[in-house]
């Protein structure tokens, strides 16, 4: 084992590999900072460049893009309020208010450090506990998966913002949007009205960019002229307080470890990636906080939870991939494809046949997270040169980046029409105070829920199996408890608000 570890480390620490990884790290951060550019897209663009490299070198470069990408999403989430990637949706909840509240440097540093520690914790778990965790993940059948999605959907209840009802409506609209297009089991077109635009379905990325980015950009130029005192989207002076923030992150060990563990677990489940981990970690941090009312207003706990959660999925996703040959996410599938191009079959025998490669990947993960940290700490100011750019340049240019991101996904101009339409709907919903996060969650989880529900009922038509299989029953019970807990918190907050209102009325 030690020999294999050292052999892997030797390859990763080769000078050219480190240089390629550094370029990959910067590319990942920059790509993910552009709204609409996902980590997956950055990795896909990297894949052809790694064909001429050694297998471990190629995978190391892709891992550095991966780790850098998870952090890059933080930049636009914190500074523009637009999640750069689906994995940074929850990051906008607190990092953006914190940045808007005059602490953009602190928001970014918190995110960077939380991402770093999240990745390191997930890599340690990957090395130590890969086999047992992967075994649990692989035992989940469609019943457990459906129950897991039901549990994840109950998160909607705590993401509803000002109104439980509007949050639920937004979540169900998301589920409904996900049903447009080909049916996930048989490929039969549904609710497409024979329109070429709707025939392939609504790509998740288009919905995400439209709902978050276009509506946010339209909101940025509202009441133009009166808001001139707000000036640029990003303040002129950004104080990062790197080391003070590092201590601050370490002062929240429970939140950091819990969020990282959630990220590892979610990452290890095939299909569930950073987007779910980000929201779930945030949700759990809010629920276990003594001051949940501070969430959404720029609390450091929110930033730490969301960033540690999404970054930890990078290590978690590698667990089933390395141990069982099952990719944990689309990115892991691309990593698998890269290894297969080099003639390496990924599966249980990977550790036995190519131990140096497997352990080299563990080392590469740690090196990639260190590189991300160094790149961010040293050159975050360089990335933030956008601070000098006034709103009239940022808003239309980011809009163009969104258009490019939406187009590059499938090279379809028709996707751009969808982007415009969804953007307008998103702006309307935002104006009417509908929370947008549940809608996006619904779009992500809808197809997974439907596929697993139908798969489960195809294997056994009996509905009671969902309650008789132990893991499924536990997940459903957790979902019920989650709803009860959320409703209780809403009622509690209302009761808290009422005396104050009554007093005011009395005055």
């Amino acid at each position: 084992m030690l020999d294999a570890f050292l052999a892997g480390a030797h390859q990763v620490f080769a000078f050219d590999t480190l240089i390629y990884m550094l370029i990959g790290s910067v590319a990942g951060i920059v790509a993910a900072a552009i709204p609409g550019f996902t980590v997956t897209m950055a990795i896909i663009l990297t894949l052809p460049l790694t064909f001429t490299m050694e297998p471990l070198q190629g995978v190391s470069v892709m891992l550095s893009v991966y780790v850098g990408g998870y952090t890059g999403g933080l930049i636009s989430a914190a500074l523009l309020g637009i999640p750069g990637t689906p994995s940074s949706v929850a990051t906008t909840f607190d990092a953006f208010p914190m940045a808007r509240g005059g602490e953009p440097g602190r928001a970014l540093s918190l995110g960077v450090w939380a991402s770093f520690f999240g990745t390191v914790i997930s890599t340690i778990i990957l090395i130590v506990a890969a086999p047992p965790l992967a075994l649990i993940a692989v035992k989940l059948g469609p019943w457990e998966y459906f129950s897991l999605i039901v549990f994840a959907l109950t998160i909607v209840a705590s993401l509803v913002g000002n109104s439980l009802m509007r949050g639920l409506i937004a979540g169900v609209i998301g589920l409904g949007l996900a049903t447009i297009g080909p049916d996930p089991m048989m490929g039969r077109p549904r609710l497409t009205f024979e329109s070429d635009i709707l025939m392939p379905g609504l790509p998740f990325l288009i919905v995400l960019i439209g709902i978050f980015a276009i509506s946010q950009l339209m909101g940025e130029v509202e009441d133009h002229g009166k808001n001139d005192n707000k000036g640029a989207l990003i303040p002129d002076v950004i104080e990062f307080k790197t080391w003070a923030v590092m201590r601050e992150v370490l002062m929240h060990p429970v939140n950091l470890v819990r969020s990282s563990l959630i990220g590892v677990f979610i990452g290890a489940l095939p299909g569930a990636g950073g987007s779910i981990a980000n929201l779930l970690a945030y949700d759990q941090a809010k629920r276990s906080s003594k001051t949940p009312e501070e969430f959404g207003k720029g609390t450091p706990n929110g930033v730490i939870a969301s960033e540690a959660g999404n970054s930890a999925t990078a290590g978690g996703g590698l667990i089933p991939m390395i141990a069982l040959g099952i990719p944990g996410s689309a990115v892991d599938a691309i990593l698998m494809a890269a290894l297969m191009v080099h003639g390496i079959s990924v599966g249980p025998r990977l550790i036995m046949d190519h131990a140096d490669l497997a352990y080299g990947m563990f080392v590469a993960m740690v090196v990639a997270s260190l590189m991300m940290l160094v790149v961010c700490v040293l050159s975050m100011r360089l990335f933030l040169r956008v601070t000098d750019i006034p709103k009239q340049f940022i808003v239309p240019t980011v809009m163009i980046c969104c258009v490019i991101g939406a187009f590059a996904l499938n090279n379809r101009v028709t996707d751009l029409y969808l982007l415009g339409a969804i953007g307008l709907v998103g702006y309307g919903l935002k104006s009417l105070d509908y929370p947008l996060a549940p809608l996006v969650l619904g779009v992500i989880l809808g197809p997974i829920a439907e596929t697993n529900l139908r798969r489960a009922l195809m294997s056994d038509g009996d509905w009671t199996v969902f309650f008789t299989r132990p893991i499924s029953a536990v997940l459903l019970a957790a979902a019920v408890l989650s709803v009860i807990f959320s409703v209780r918190s809403v009622l509690k907050m209302r009761r808290k608000d009422r005396p104050a209102t009554d007093e005011q009325d009395g005055d």
Binding site: L45, P48, M165, R188, E222, F407
Partner: protein, 183 residues
């Protein structure tokens, strides 16, 4: 004097109530739109043929989802009506709508420009369409002066022709080419 003060206090108290009523009315309209749409989509999903191979057909899940959405919208609409009645008079709706649009005039103009840009993209090509979009939108937000015109032309050139070259040469992503202009 006292009468005047009382009147102004009453007007002050009724203003937020009226504003709340107007907001709730706007939301009520959205619940009706979503509710009606979901009933229609649920019916359309029900028309999809069932499968011989599985208990749930292609239409079952959408039917379930849109059914739930219709139910939620109905509950929300009833609550909105109760809130509107509680809040009191629903006056000056047209005026409120006008001021709502006025505040967001640049946002809507930007969106209108985006629609025109997306429509022109297949004909004019990425570089030309983006250049024009960026130039107009930047000047629309910043206002027209000698300085902003020069800045906007430079920025529009960089982010239209420059971005096109970057994506084509570095990322091998080819942005839309126009029928009238290939760039």
């Amino acid at each position: 004097m006292t009468n005047g003060a009382e009147k102004s206090a009453a007007a002050g108290a009724s203003a937020p109530a009226a504003s709340r009523a107007r907001t709730e009315f706007a939301r009520l309209v959205s619940y009706i739109v979503f509710g009606t749409g979901s009933v229609y989509l649920s019916l359309r999903a029900g028309e999809l043929p069932t499968s011989r191979w599985e208990p749930l057909g292609a239409g079952s899940f959408p039917q379930l989802v849109f059914g739930v959405l219709a139910g939620l919208c109905l509950i929300a609409a009833i609550r909105a009506i109760i809130d509107i009645r509680k809040a009191g008079q629903l006056d000056a709706l047209g005026e409120a709508l006008c001021s709502w649009v006025k505040v967001r005039r640049i946002s809507f103009a930007l969106f209108g420009l985006l629609v025109v840009y997306l429509g022109a993209l297949p004909f004019a090509g990425f570089s030309l369409a983006t250049f024009v979009f960026l130039l107009i939108s930047q000047l629309m937000i910043a206002g027209i002066s000698k300085k902003t015109v020069i800045q906007s032309v430079i920025a529009a050139l960089i982010f239209s022709v420059g971005l096109n070259l970057l994506f084509a040469e570095v990322f091998n992503v080819f942005l839309p080419r126009g029928m009238l202009f290939a760039g």
